[in-house]
């Protein structure tokens, strides 16, 4: 519950403040956002399953973001940055869909 409130507050703050990010963050920010969303959906699912652990959530959140950024960084160094970004987005998208399906089953019993 506190997470949802914080998310909304962050959204409003971002829209209101319109922060500028340094140029080198450019390629990583979208991937990091998707990775964090994956972690959030996983956390919601775990909570509905009754196995939510704050430590697991925090660690998975941070590691997701870091790994995603690292993969993109590595891809940039190898010259396949855009392809690896696509791969990361696809994989994370699939996981988000899986978690969303589990959440749906919990919420709607269907």
């Amino acid at each position: 519950m506190i997470g949802l409130v914080a998310l909304v507050v962050g959204l409003v703050l971002g829209l209101w403040l319109d922060p500028t990010v340094p140029g080198w963050v450019g390629p990583y920010l979208p991937i990091a956002v998707v990775a964090a969303l994956d972690a959030v959906f996983g956390g919601v699912r775990a909570r509905l399953d009754g196995i939510f652990d704050a430590k697991v959530f925090v660690v998975s959140f941070v590691s997701n973001v870091l790994v995603a950024a690292l993969i993109v960084l590595l891809g940039d160094q190898l010259g396949v940055g855009s392809q690896l970004s696509t791969a990361v987005v696809v994989v994370l998208g699939i996981r988000i869909f899986g978690n969303a399906a589990a959440i749906r089953r919990h919420v709607f019993q269907a």
Partner: protein
């Protein structure tokens, strides 16, 4: 309590990042954040497109030059054809002409002037460079013929009556000298009992025309 704060912080950061990214995407300033490889691909595409467009420009300019040159050529050809048509019309006697020349009036009170005398006049005028000649009311053309007998001369089938008025366009002194040559036309006329009056004019008009006859058999060979 600490974990709740951490979760809130992370979610706050996520919201912030989402909002930031959305606004960045919406602002459309993608080039400044694009990867060098993508930029290179983009640049390559633009350069290819530029080369194609430059080629188009060169082709179009070449076509323009070609069309302009052909336009000039045909205009010049038309001008030349017009000049030639004008010269041929003067020669054929299908247009009235004006210019310097001489006017010769030959009287024949005894009726002894033969067609040969007038033919001699015509020959002398032509020899002296007359470009257009009119005898009486008949324009001399390439197929003109003098016929008949003394006192009843016919030119191209039309009877001529004395005094014979001959107008010729050319260089007046040259024409006059040719007619006045000793033993020439003027002498011949005088021997026959006639008289001639020669006048040089700065401007003479020859208004008689000849109908243009279309050749029945002859065709340009080329």
């Amino acid at each position: 309590m600490l974990s709740a704060a951490l979760i809130a912080l992370l979610c706050l950061g996520l919201g912030l990042a989402i909002a930031t990214q959305v606004q960045r995407t919406r602002s459309g300033d993608a080039l400044s954040e694009a990867r060098p490889q993508d930029l290179v691909v983009l640049l390559d595409g633009l350069q290819e497109r530029e080369a194609a467009l430059r080629q188009d420009i060169a082709d179009s300019e070449a076509a323009l030059r070609r069309l302009r040159a052909s336009g000039d050529t045909s205009a010049a050809a038309l001008e030349e054809a017009r000049a030639r048509a004008g010269a041929l019309a003067v020669l054929a006697g299908t247009v009235p002409v004006a210019g310097p020349g001489v006017e010769l009036t030959v009287t024949d009170p005894n009726g002894r002037l033969t067609p040969e005398v007038l033919l001699g006049v015509l020959q002398e005028l032509r020899g002296a460079g007359a470009e257009a000649v009119q005898i009486g009311r008949v324009r001399i053309g390439v197929d003109s013929a003098l016929s008949g007998v003394a006192g009843a001369i016919e030119l191209d089938g039309q009877p001529l009556t004395a005094p014979y008025r001959i107008r010729a366009i050319g260089d007046p002194p040259t024409l006059a000298a040719a007619l006045n040559i000793p033993g020439g036309v003027v002498d011949t006329v005088r021997r026959g009992g006639g008289d001639s009056v020669l006048a040089q004019r700065d401007r003479l008009e020859i208004t008689a025309l000849r109908p243009l006859s279309t050749p029945q058999y002859a065709r340009p060979a080329n």
